[in-house]
Symmetry: C2
Subunit: 438 residues, 2 copies
C-alpha cells in the first residue's frame, strides 16, 4: 500500500518531554521485546512494515521535525517537507504530488492518509490496507475509516453511516459535539472520524488543481508559502458525495495527555527512579540523570526531562498548558540528524552543551557571528574541520573556535563533546551554513 | 557568653538536599527580611550575635564540615576540629580545652553547649545566656535546659525536676520512652532533655583529665584518634549529683524530617516552581535549574537538587532512609571554603563540573595523578598558577592541565569555570596538596 503519515506538532500537552521541536510521536516510551524503548513514530513505522513489507511510506511534516525523523528512522525515509504550516489540505496535496512526481506512483493507485500518533495494534494497519483496497475499487472517491466509539467523546467529529454494514455510504458528518449530543449520535450508530482516509492519487491531484494554480510537485513546493490555510475536511470531504466509510472496531487511542499516555505504558517506571510500596497508580518517566524517589503518592504522573519536571495528579494533567506557557526557557534537549544535544549549564553569557554524534555522522559546516566556542572531546574519535583545516580529534582534545570561524566535526566512533559557548547574545539562530569544499 | 555549637552530621533524612558532606544545618531554607535565604547555621549564629554581640562562639565539628562552615560564616569563625567522630564526651572535652588553651578563656568562666540545629526564636538565646549565668553562680556543676514538652515525644530523654520553679534541682533522668510512658512523665512535670547545658570550664576539664590521660588541647587533639567513644550523658550527666535544670517554654523544634522542616518554611516554594490552585499543603524546594510544575497534589513535599528528586507524601517522608540508601551516585554538589562546585555531567571516563569561586578566594595548590583537566572560564577574572607559572585568566580563556601538573586558580571577581576531568579513574581522593612558594 501507499501511505502518507501526517506528523504534526503536539505542542505542550506532554510537557516537559514534548516541546516546540520535539513532538509526542518522538518520545521513546514503549517497551520492545528486547527491553529497549521505541517512540510512537517507530512503533507505527515498524507495524506498517510488518503488515505490508512493501508498503511505500511517506511522512508529511515540517522542517523542525526532519532531524528527529531521520534520527529515529534513518536517512532513507521519504519525507514530504512542508516549507511552512498551511493546514491539512495543502499538506495532503503536497504529499500526494510528491508521491506522484517524485516517487513516480501512478495516478490510478490508491493512497491512505493517517496521523502518526494514534496508539493502535497491528489490526489497525490491516484495516488501513483494506481502506486502500476499497479505494482501489473506485466505488467512491473517498473511503474513510470510522472508528467504533468507546465513549461519548467531545474531542472527535462523528460520521453517521447509511447502514451497519462493514462498508457503507456516509449519510452525514457531525462536528465535535458535547457529551450528551455525542451519546445521541452513538445511539444512531455514529462512528468517530479519526482523520484516516484513502483515495486515488488522481482524485486529490485534480482537487488540488481546481483550488491551486500549480504545475507539479516542484512548483507546488515553491509556491507553498503563498497558499491559503484550508483544511482537507472543508476543501474536500464535506463537498464530496461519492464517499464511503469502513468500520474499525480495534484499539485506537489518542495518547494526547499524560493521563491517557501512562495508561498505555507497560511499566510504572522509565528511567532512574524508585517508588515505595505505598504508591498506587503512579507513573514515573525520568529522562534526567538525577535519581528520583516517590513515597506514598496516589494517581500521580511524574515526568522529568531537561526542560522541566512535572508532578501532577493524573486527572489534572490535561490542564497543564496555561501553566507551561508561563515557563520560558531555552530548549534544553534536541534530537538531530547526527545525534543529539543537551544543555547542561547556562548563564547570561555562556551555554554549556553535551553533544553526542552517532558513528559516521557529522554536523553542517557552519559559523557563528556572536559567540566563540570551545570543544572538549570526552569520548570517541573523529575529525574536525576548522576554516578548511582538517585535524583528528579524540577524547581529551580541546578545540577553540572563534566567532566567524567555519567549523564541523565528523564522528568515526560515537563521539561526545562538551561544548562551551561564550558570548553576550547566544542564540540558535546565530548560525550560517556553508558548503564544505571536498 | 561562651558558647559551643555542636555541628553534627544529619545523614540522609533530608535527602536529596542533605548528604554525607552537606548536613541539614547548611540548607538555605529560611527567608530573611531582605528576601535572601539563610541556613539554620547562619540563623543560629546571627541570633546569638543579636542577643549577645560579645558572645564567643566555637563550633565543634568534623573535617568534612569545615569548608561549608567557612563558606557560610566566613573564615574568622572559631572551629574546634574533631579529627574523627568519637561521640559527645570527647567532642565536648576537646572543644572545652580549645576554649581554654587556644581561646584563652579562664577556667572559672562558664560555657553553654548546644546543638546547632534546633529551630528556635531569639528568646531561646536569652535562655542560653541565663543558663550560662546560672552556671557562673556555682550552685551546681551542671545546669541543663529543660524544654517544656508540647506532645509525648518518643524521640527525647526526659528530665524530672524536683519542683516547678524556673530553676530546680534534677530529681531523675528518663531514657527515651514510648508515647504512653512519656505521657506519664509529662503528668509528673517532666521536661525534654534537648542536650543543652552549661558548666564552668574547669569542671569539664577535670572530668576529662579523670577519664583521659592528656596534657592540654594540643595533646588531646593528637590523641583523639585513640580515644574511646563515650557520650557526655553517660560519662558526666548521669553521674553528677550537683545538677540543676532551667525551664524553657519557648519555641524549640527539631526540623529533622521534611514534614517538620516544611512546617517552619515561610513559603510554599523555594526555587523555580509553579503550583496550581488545586494543590493543598504542598511544599517545593527546587535547587536545580530545571523548572517544576505541580498540579492537583495534596500533603506532598517535593525536594530537588543535583543529588536527587524526592516527591513524598509528607507523613511518609520520615521513612525515606532505606530507599535513599539504595541510591548510589557521586556527590553532585558541595560548598567549599572558596565557593562551590556542581557536577553537570558524568560518564565512565569524564566528569564535567561547574566551579564558582568567591571574589578573592582560591583553591589549594594541588595535582591529580590519574586525570587531565580542562578549564574554560565563563565568568569573571583572576589568575591561574600551573607548575609555578602565573597567568591571568578571564571569561573565554582555556587552560589545560595534564595529570601530575600542580595547579590553582585565584579569583579576583567572582569566577566561574567549566572544568572537564578526563581519565579512567576519576576520584575526589586523587589529589595531592602542595605549599605554594611565594
Amino acid at each position: 500500500m501507499n501511505i502518507i503519515l501526517l506528523s504534526g506538532g503536539s505542542g505542550k500537552r506532554l510537557w516537559p518531554l514534548s516541546n516546540d521541536i520535539r513532538s509526542k510521536q518522538f518520545l521513546k516510551l514503549f517497551k520492545k521485546s528486547d527491553g529497549t524503548y521505541e517512540s510512537m513514530l517507530q512503533r507505527v513505522y515498524n507495524a506498517i512494515k510488518r503488515v505490508d513489507s512493501k508498503a511505500k511510506i511517506t511522512i508529511a511534516t515540517s522542517k523542525s521535525q526532519v532531524s528527529a525523523i531521520n534520527n529515529q528512522l534513518g536517512s532513507d525515509i521519504n519525507i514530504s517537507l512542508e516549507p511552512c504550516r498551511k493546514d491539512t489540505f495543502p499538506a495532503i496535496a503536497l504529499a500526494t504530488a510528491y508521491l506522484h512526481d517524485v516517487q513516480k506512483v501512478p495516478e490510478n493507485e490508491a493512497v491512505v492518509v493517517c496521523p502518526v500518533d494514534p496508539y493502535v495494534d497491528d489490526d489497525y494497519f490491516v484495516a488501513l490496507n483494506n481502506l486502500c483496497l476499497q479505494a482501489d475499487k473506485g466505488e467512491a472517491n473517498l473511503v474513510l475509516m470510522g472508528i467504533e466509539p468507546t465513549y461519548p467523546s467531545e474531542k472527535y467529529g462523528y460520521i453517521i453511516p447509511k447502514n451497519k454494514e462493514n462498508t457503507s455510504e456516509v449519510l452525514k458528518f457531525k462536528e465535535k459535539p458535547d457529551s450528551e449530543t455525542a451519546m445521541g449520535y452513538i445511539k444512531q450508530g455514529a462512528l468517530w472520524n479519526g482523520g484516516v482516509f484513502a483515495y486515488k492519487i488522481k482524485y486529490v491531484l485534480d482537487k488540488a488543481h481546481e483550488i491551486i494554480d500549480f504545475k507539479d510537485y516542484y512548483d507546488l513546493f515553491e509556491k507553498y508559502d503563498s497558499l491559503n490555510k484550508i483544511s482537507f475536511d472543508y476543501a474536500v470531504v464535506e463537498k464530496e458525495s461519492k464517499i464511503q466509510v469502513m468500520r474499525f472496531g480495534g484499539q485506537w487511542k489518542d495518547l494526547g495527555t499524560w493521563n491517557t499516555l501512562t495508561e498505555s505504558m507497560e511499566e510504572k517506571i522509565i528511567g532512574k527512579a524508585i517508588m515505595n510500596e505505598r504508591c498506587s497508580n503512579v507513573h514515573i518517566i525520568n529522562e534526567t540523570n538525577i535519581p528520583m524517589l516517590a513515597m506514598g503518592l496516589h494517581d500521580v504522573v511524574i515526568s522529568a526531562g531537561p526542560d522541566g519536571i512535572l508532578i501532577s495528579d493524573k486527572g489534572e494533567s490535561s490542564f497543564i498548558k496555561p501553566f507551561v506557557d508561563k515557563i520560558i526557557q531555552p530548549t534544553m534537549f534536541a534530537e538531530k540528524s547526527w545525534g543529539s544535544y543537551r544543555v547542561i549549564d547556562f548563564t547570561s553569557e555562556s551555554m554549556t552543551i553535551k553533544i553526542t554524534l552517532n558513528p559516521g555522522s557529522s554536523m553542517n559546516y557552519h559559523s557563528h557571528q556572536k559567540r566563540n566556542e570551545v570543544w572538549v572531546a570526552i569520548l570517541g574519535n573523529g575529525k574536525t574541520i576548522v576554516d578548511g583545516m582538517e585535524q583528528p580529534i579524540k577524547a581529551g582534545d580541546v578545540i577553540t573556535i572563534e566567532a566567524g570561524c567555519r567549523h564541523t566535526v565528523i564522528a568515526e566512533s560515537e563521539l561526545q563533546l562538551i561544548e562551551v559557548q561564550l558570548g553576550k547574545e547566544i542564540s540558535v539562530d546565530d548560525k550560517r551554513i556553508f558548503r564544505l569544499e571536498k
